[in-house]
């Protein structure tokens, strides 16, 4: 609740910016962004290691490197980790760090809510991975189709960790989505109309809308599943008249928008990088905005394309097929506008640009195989084979991860004040590009030639060995490419800060302030007259911009640190996590009540604590 601001001395009570405590209590969107980034990158590596183990197992037929149970856990956790703990929070890192900077704000709309999102995300990620330690890792696939997930067919805590973990992560995503949405609606610099927002902000904005509308559906689906598993209902169980297909509908009503949640931030990043490194404004800005919005809109009307083999009947098949195909049009618009941006430009092939171009080139492949899946009769052959695995890695890795990596190279200097080595960056790019294509292109062949997905092994006489081996070597190359990246960042961290405020001749507001930015971002927010305010200033200055000076922040009110968000996050964890114990002991609800008490106490303390 609002408290008057005057009785706090400006900025004086802020803790020094060091020590663990300062990270736990921070409400600075930039530091939270870094927390998101580091955590998500570690989870990403974990998901990558899971993938590598799977690849080793699949290297030869009838391999026994891992047991079937472990393999099932590996792909389930790989998919879940990459999506919910890798790509989404990596995007959240960029949302956190760059939405406020790009719209000229001092922070997000609700800084403490932002911290809360991070802590819930971290605890949720730890919770779900904790299952490995007690040998109960989720093992029913990342979309956990009912009725395999019922108590009868999935006894043990494996699926419970998955259900409750996703529920916890959902809380984090929802809180963050509301926060960023409001930030973009309400915190823009003077003059920054909606149609002057940087494309990254636009795509992030649309992503938040998707999150807000898609997550409630999975929340409910997970509640039903939890009830089935712990409270003896039959939402998805035919024994009581329920229908497992309901799960599929609810999951994919969420799931398809989710894949656009994964890719749109990357679209935004690429739309930032291509103009800057072509030295030419984004081609067809308005079309880019509306195509993004249209993709999101259509994204809610295609969910059943994941269910063509369920026998929904010809009318539903036809409807969802056509709506799915239609998405190729706005996506095509994006691709063509990107090429249009490069066309006639003066391309500076620095590392971020390479990754951005790589993203465009590879996303096309994934998009085209997507259109092939959208043809239901043909999809009957493709679904649940490696052809699908090829599709989604082209869009998820070739699209999302390449885009995010491009963003990492592009914004690293801004975030840490240090340049990443360009030569090493290029090495990283080529290794990743080759490794990626060697790993995933042959999956098209394997899928069409009959290799189903989610098999821990395959018989030798189906001749899947050759391509599987190629893929495994490719994935190892891919793994090494990330070591190059890590080495590059490590080297950079050992150097003194050397990055100028604007190493790339950037077009947007974040390049007008020192690298890394000061806590308050902008001492004075510059007026905005176009979608490329930094270029406007640069032109006004005859082609150069003066290096911005660090200034004293005296007199600028910044939100004060708080640990109540972290406490409240613990409350969320305990409340939801307590359901794990329903079968274990009858007094389980005491844990729930404890969690709820922490949660409520945290909320009250948070609400009554002065924000500044």
């Amino acid at each position: 609740m609002a408290t008057s601001v005057v009785d706090h001395a400006p900025a004086s009570h802020h803790e020094p910016h060091t020590g663990i405590w300062s990270w736990i209590t921070t409400v600075d969107h930039k530091r939270i962004g870094i927390l998101y980034g580091v955590t998500a990158f570690i989870f990403f590596l974990l998901g990558g290691i899971e993938a590598l183990i799977m690849r080793i197992q699949l290297m030869k037929p009838d391999n026994t490197f891992v047991s079937p149970e472990l393999f099932n856990s590996l792909f389930t956790m790989h998919g879940t980790t990459m999506i919910f703990l890798g790509v989404m929070p990596l995007s959240a890192m960029f949302f956190n760090y760059f939405i406020p900077l790009q719209i000229g704000a001092r922070d997000v709309a609700f800084p403490r809510l932002n911290a809360f999102s991070y802590w819930v995300f971290l605890l949720g990620g730890l919770f779900i991975n904790f299952s490995f330690l007690i040998n109960a890792a989720p093992n029913a696939g990342w979309f956990g189709y009912a009725n395999l997930t019922s108590n009868q067919y999935s006894p043990g805590l494996n699926t419970d960790f998955w259900v409750l973990g996703l529920q916890i992560l959902g809380v984090a995503s929802m809180a963050a989505a509301i926060n960023f949405f409001v930030t973009i609606v309400n915190m823009r610099a003077p003059g920054m109309k909606m149609l002057r927002m940087p494309m990254f902000v636009w795509m992030s904005f649309i992503t938040q809308i998707l999150l807000l509308l898609a997550f409630p559906v999975i929340t409910i689906a997970l509640v039903f599943l939890m009830m089935d598993r712990h409270f003896a209902t039959h939402f998805f169980l035919p024994e009581g008249g329920g229908d497992p297909i309901l799960w599929q509908h609810l999951f994919w009503i969420f799931g398809h928008p989710e894949v656009y949640i994964l890719i749109l931030p990357s679209f935004g990043i690429v739309s930032e990088i291509l103009p800057v490194f072509s030295r030419k404004p984004l081609f067809g800005y308005t079309a880019m905005v509306f195509s993004g919005a249209f993709i999101a809109f259509l994204g809610f009307g295609v969910w059943s394309h994941h269910m063509f083999s369920t026998g929904m009947g010809p009318f539903a098949d036809a409807f969802f097929s056509l709506s799915t195909m239609l998405i190729a049009v706005p996506t095509g618009v994006k691709i063509f506008n990107w090429i249009g941006t490069m066309w006639g430009g003066s391309l500076q092939l620095k590392t971020p640009m390479l990754f951005a171009i790589g993203m465009v080139a590879q996303f096309i492949v994934g998009g085209l195989s997507g259109v092939m899946h959208s043809v239901p009769p043909a999809d009957l052959q493709q679904t649940d084979t490696y052809f699908i695995v090829a599709h989604f890695h082209y869009v998820l890795f070739g699209g999302a991860i390449f885009g995010l990596t491009a963003g990492a190279y592009y914004w690293f200097p801004k975030m840490f004040g240090r340049m990443l080595d360009d030569k090493m960056g290029k090495l990283h790019f080529w290794m990743m590009f080759l490794g990626f294509n060697i790993t995933f292109f042959p999956m098209h062949f394997l899928g069409l030639n009959g290799m189903p997905r989610r098999v821990y092994t395959y018989p030798g006489d189906l001749n899947f060995e050759f391509w599987n081996q190629v893929q495994t070597w490719g994935s190892l190359l891919l793994g090494v490419s990330f070591l190059v990246f890590i080495y590059n960042m490590w080297k950079a961290s050992r150097r003194p800060a050397d990055a100028p405020a604007d190493p790339w001749r950037g077009a947007t507001l974040e390049w007008l302030i020192p690298s890394p930015p000061q806590e308050f971002n902008f001492a004075d927010v510059p007026p905005v007259h176009s979608a490329t305010p930094a270029w406007d200033l640069r032109r006004a200055g005859g082609g150069t911009l003066p290096e911005p000076q660090r200034v004293s922040g005296a007199g600028i009110h910044m939100p004060r640190p708080s640990y109540w968000p972290a406490v409240t996050a613990v409350g969320v964890l305990v409340t939801i996590g307590s359901i794990l114990f329903t079968h274990a002991f009858s007094q389980w609800y005491f844990i729930t009540l404890t969690g709820a008490a922490i949660l409520i106490y945290g909320i009250y303390r948070w609400a009554y604590e002065p924000a500044f």
Partner: protein
């Protein structure tokens, strides 16, 4: 909260308690009509009326509840005088929600028929 941003938030032409009261009355009447539709539709007031009302009872209920919904949203939630942004924040998700419900009903009705064979 400072007065400044509040004024921008649409303090103009605030409805009065009198208007609120009228809305409450209408809501009450509409609710009564809903229950009436239910009763008549199921034969409480004789078979003749039932024959007329029964086929449209679902329609009637939907219309009545939509009207109540709109009244609360417009007057009590102030969408009528607040900035349009807020209306958009509500109306689009609402339409999506309605579409999802309708789509699910359609899809499941087919699913049941074919699955029995």
């Amino acid at each position: 909260m400072d007065a400044h941003s509040h004024a921008q938030g649409g303090d103009h032409a605030h409805p009065t308690p009198g208007l609120y009261f009228k809305v409450a009355l209408v809501l009450f009447v509409l609710t009564a009509l809903e229950v009436l539709a239910y009763e008549v539709g199921h034969g409480r007031m004789g078979a003749d009326l039932q024959r007329i009302v029964e086929p449209v009872v679902v329609m009637l209920l939907l219309v009545l509840s939509a009207a109540k919904f709109a009244l609360v949203a417009m007057f009590y939630m102030h969408l009528k005088q607040d900035p349009k942004v807020l209306t958009n924040l509500f109306i689009w998700p609402l339409l999506l929600a309605a579409t999802v419900i309708a789509a699910m009903i359609v899809i499941f009705s087919y699913w049941r028929v074919v699955g029995a064979k």
